[in-house]
């Protein structure tokens, strides 16, 4: 009987530790800020305004491109929207190629409307690396 109770306590403790450990893992990982060149952003906005690079006004595509090109993680990626600041978009991206999970926060550096381009402001790996 005592042995059973002891097992239960151990089990509950393990669950609590795992949950709190995960939380800590996700929220304590520091963000990596991305250098934004405003002149380059304006040039890109100008291209988009002239009908080119339409993908730049879609935050989802910009997030995927960032993963593909900047972090060299190509291919299919599961995406979940996460909380972000005002005027920002946030995604948790889980590439199918490996166990890494990446969170990205995007904002619009030139115009904050639906015709404005998005860029990744910061990112972090929250699992593995």
């Amino acid at each position: 009987m005592i042995y059973r109770k002891f097992l239960h306590v151990i089990l509950i403790l393990s669950i609590l530790l795992t949950v709190s450990g995960c939380k800590q893992n996700s929220s304590n990982v520091p963000w990596v800020e991305v250098n934004i060149n405003l002149d380059e952003a304006k040039t890109l906005q100008s291209e988009v305004d002239n009908g080119h690079r339409v993908g730049e006004i879609d935050p989802v595509q910009v997030a995927h491109e960032f993963l593909n090109r900047k972090l060299n993680i190509p291919g299919d990626t599961k995406r979940k929207e996460i909380k972000a600041g005002e005027g920002e978009k946030g995604y948790r991206l889980t590439p199918s190629s490996d166990g890494r999970m990446v969170e990205v926060i995007l904002f619009q550096p030139v115009r904050t409307d639906s015709t404005g381009i998005w860029v990744v402001k910061k990112y972090r790996f929250i699992e593995g690396k």
Binding site: H52, V54, G55, D76
Partner: protein, 317 residues
């Protein structure tokens, strides 16, 4: 009796005044200096940066008709180039959040072109009001396109138009040197393996990447084969115009347009969708494909230069 005659005379007079008023509105090409012969759209860019033979002759005619110097022509060409780069001058519009974004965007575009128009007026002086090139070009181009398509259909074998279209090609800065952009986002998604973002109902049609296209430039008889579709655009992202509305992978938007007619082309040349793209933005080029500078160079198009090219879509979903 007198009353009847008086009423009849009055009616005739009113009718004549109405007629004269209407004739003076529609009869002249451009009535006042306030009306814009360039229509405040990107026609200077189209005029000076399209490699087409007819348009090049139009430029020569413009110079002769308006007695413009070489320096003035250079300035016009430069303004044409500026038209393609000035849109982002607009302010941040956080305060305008309640307004429709595209309306605000179009207002900014208008402001930009109004400034260019001012410069054109200063440059051309009195001649500003005598040049109405764009209306003629639109009519000519629509007929020209129809003729070309008809002729191509009459040809036998590999030049059948079943899977190729004559579309206006513009240039853009790509992710890679050798790529093109077409207005179907799912082609790009499939090529990059972003399956999670392609709806389940559509995914089966896009299951065989990589998707490429062949581009052929008749003027120079040069082709670029199997170019990867790496980006979305020009202008739209759901305009798979190489698919008909009843195809197995049906055209997702603008299904009333003819097979092979890009929405941006219809918007620019025929005022379709009020001359706007799927986002409500004013369309300034009748573009159906975007080429990187490298692809354009292989076709013998100079940097910034645009023109009508054949694109073979047989490989696309």
């Amino acid at each position: 009796m007198k009353k009847v005659i008086l009423v009849a005379l009055l009616a005739c007079f009113t009718f004549s005044v109405f007629l004269i008023g209407n004739t003076s509105k529609s009869g002249g090409i451009v009535e006042s200096a306030n009306e814009d012969p360039w229509e405040q759209v990107e026609n200077l860019n189209y005029l000076f940066w399209t490699a087409d033979e007819k348009i090049e002759n139009d430029v020569k005619k413009l110079q002769l008709d308006l007695s413009l110097t070489g320096k003035q022509m250079e300035k016009l060409k430069e303004l044409g180039l500026q038209e393609g780069y000035l849109f982002s001058e607009g302010r941040r519009c956080k305060d305008d959040a309640a307004k429709d974004d595209a309306v605000t965007f179009n207002q900014r575009v208008d402001e930009t072109f109004a400034n260019i128009d001012k410069e054109v007026r200063v440059l051309l002086g009195k001649n500003t009001t005598t040049f109405a090139w764009w209306e003629n070009e639109k009519m000519y181009r629509l007929n020209w396109l129809a003729e070309k398509e008809k002729k191509s259909k009459e040809e036998i074998g590999i030049t059948s138009t079943d899977d190729r279209e004559l579309v206006y090609a513009t240039q853009y800065n790509g992710y890679t040197n050798l790529e093109i952009a077409l207005p179907d986002k799912y082609v790009k998604f499939a090529n990059l393996g972003w399956w999670d973002d392609i709806p389940d109902s559509i995914e089966p049609y896009y299951s065989n990447p990589p998707y490429t296209a062949n581009v052929y430039y008749e003027t120079t008889n040069k082709s670029v084969l199997n170019v990867l579709v790496r980006e979305v655009g020009p202008y739209n992202e759901d305009d798979n115009y190489w698919d008909s509305a009843t195809a197995s992978n049906p055209r997702r938007m603008f299904t009333d347009l003819a097979l092979g007619e890009p929405e941006a082309e219809a918007a620019k040349l025929r005022g379709y969708n009020d001359g706007k793209d799927q986002f409500g933005r004013v369309v300034n080029q009748p573009a159906g494909v975007d080429l990187t500078e490298e692809v354009a160079a292989q076709l013998r198009l100079a940097p910034q230069q645009n023109d009508w090219v054949w694109v073979r879509y047989s490989d696309l979903p």
